[in-house]
Symmetry: C2
Subunit: 348 residues, 2 copies
DNA sequence: CTGAAAGCGCTAACAT
DNA sequence: ATGTTAGCGCTTTCAG
């Protein structure tokens, strides 16, 4: 076989191998693959050589030269959570449309781990990071100082730090609409089932809950405000404590899908009929909400949109960032069958 | 301010900037960050300089030199599907423990898109790829030829091609145990609700279904073998067709969680009691299966394990790859409340 | 239109 | 222990 270049199988082909095989300079090969002007004849020769060698231009070589990797980082607490899955899908969709790839990692609610991941992504020289931050901003300040551009998703930028842009759902409005719906149904003894540790996000929901109740002149029952740790067991225990206590609760607003699940399970075990004995509603829609019997009324938080817009903000609107404050994505109240008038009300 | 090196803010600091500021050679800086021998005093000076500059060693520079990126690619059909979410979490866990990062993308069942993604990952020079392949092996052959190492997950290596190692769940055994359970309960008119287009995987399930029935001397009713397209609507229509036709079906085995969902919904709409009027079971466990009323009996397919082991196979056991054939991860039959003896049976 | 050469940030000899 | 230097694969002037 004619030896056009000493390329030997095993290691991926480089631009040099292709150049040698096509008997052109490496600059020409580069032009062929990054769109320079090359004569049709030469271009064909190069393509053929590349094909035979299974050549793929090395993104690392290119990145070193161009100082851009064409990749972004995505940090979520947990990839198996339906909301974050949706968010991830949104980021992926947007990134694809802008020709970037995505490095994903899960921090599992550990600020230290989150910082490590962010650091690593910075070393990777991603063009930007979309993060659902759990930690405070100490870690993120360092990233920001180093010139990293980051957009926070699903949470407001931690106060105090050099604010990064943020995209999140309008949970305040979501909870408000839900509470108003419940109050409108006649409920006065509404329990709030929240989770601790989720940072600011839950504070917002509880705040909106209290505010709306106050606005509607409904007394806030502190004994019906319970907060669980973010684990399944704790959620279950909290729900049990609430519902077992005697039928003083006419409705429960679960501030997350794990809490909602706990409420449904406990109600079923206690043989409480939903919504005849107790109404249940939750923040965060999930696939099983429709499969429940009865289907669960919920405030849908469009994770896909949040992810998409965060990515867009990161990549496309780099210029006008920070302007106009954080991006609020609207939620939607999905009224299904799990809420009704409280027992003993005059009905409708 | 004393001008230790002409570093100017804005662009990320390089090894040179740090070297200048610490007044050492660049090799020394490199040693500090990649574990060479450096005197404690010097090491400290370098650390300090790096800190002030927010220096992070560039992975792209390093990768170019070492020919390893320390990253792997993961290609799934859909990141929002619970099974693939689990699989992803498994890959992430394993990758983390081995110090690699993960580039994720979703192919959405489009072989062309899948090929594009794989190609891009090869350009990225990932150290390997874990893929849930939808396309045939044409695309993958090119990847393999170029020296890429790939492990298939959740599907057998496409026949004919240069086989890559594969890790998947033992669906054959899973379906068999489910069918045997159903037959043991007394069912003779069992419907199979499958989905087309999912490649080999579904074929295996249908095959196991038929084989087990034959083995147990139960006649296979071709009119009860229905196959839907992988969309929600089609699944729903198929389930409706099956259950409406008259109560000739005593149990339905849904070959996937979308199908199971459809079956549950249809049964509810038709006011069929589960399991009194009809038993329902499905392949693939999902969170909502426990929340159903009654909770759904299902064959759990451990996505996390599949992902973890695939990643391990890719990264750790590179040596003994191919030996011993594909890795089978066991499934588990989760008996819950959705299956009972058929109507009109003598009961227990 | 094409080739030669510099250099992106880093590591690994090799020299001191 | 530390500095010098030669590339890794690529893009991009700058000549021709």
């Amino acid at each position: 076989m004619a030896d056009k270049g000493a390329y030997a199988e095993g290691r991926p082909a480089t631009i040099k191998d292709v150049a040698a095989r096509a008997e052109v300079g490496i600059a020409t090969v580069s032009r062929v693959f990054s769109g320079g002007s090359v004569s049709a004849r030469t271009r064909e020769r190069v393509r053929a050589a590349a094909e035979e060698l299974d050549y793929r231009p090395s993104a690392v070589g290119r990145s070193l030269k161009t100082q851009r990797t064409g990749g972004i980082g995505l940090i979520v607490p947990d990839v198996t959570d339906p909301f974050y899955s949706d968010l991830m899908a949104g980021v992926l969709d947007c990134a694809r449309s802008l020709g970037e790839h995505v490095v994903v990692d899960a921090a599992h609610g550990d600020p230290e781990r989150e910082a490590l991941i962010a650091d690593r992504m910075m070393e990777q020289r991603v063009d930007g990071i979309v993060a659902v931050p759990m930690g405070g901003n100490e870690a993120w300040e360092s990233v920001l100082r180093a010139g990293g551009n980051v957009v926070f998703a699903d949470r407001e930028s931690p106060a105090g730090g050099p604010a990064a842009p943020a995209v999140f759902t309008d949970d305040r409005a979501g909870v408000r609409s839900l509470v108003e719906y419940l109050v409108g149904l006649g409920h006065r003894r509404i329990a709030f089932l929240g989770a601790a540790g989720a940072g600011e996000a839950v504070g917002v929901r509880e705040g909106a809950f209290r505010d709306t109740l106050a606005q509607r002149k409904v007394a806030i029952r502190e004994d019906l405000m319970v907060v669980a740790r973010p684990e399944r067991d704790s959620a279950y225990a909290a729900a049990a404590g609430l519902l077992q206590g005697g039928a003083d609760v006419s409705a429960v607003l679960a501030s997350g899908h794990l809490l909602g699940e706990a409420a449904v399970l406990v109600a079923r075990e206690l043989d409480l009929r939903v919504p005849a004995d107790v109404s249940i509603a939750m923040v965060g829609d999930v696939p099983w909400a429709e499969l429940c019997d009865p289907p669960l009324t919920a405030v849908a938080r469009p994770g896909h949109d949040v992810g998409y817009r965060a990515c867009e903000l990161l990549l496309r609107d780099r210029a006008r960032r920070g302007r106009g404050g954080p991006v609020l994505v609207p939620t939607e109240l999905l009224i299904r069958g799990s809420c009704g008038p409280p027992r003993g009300s005059r009905g409708r």
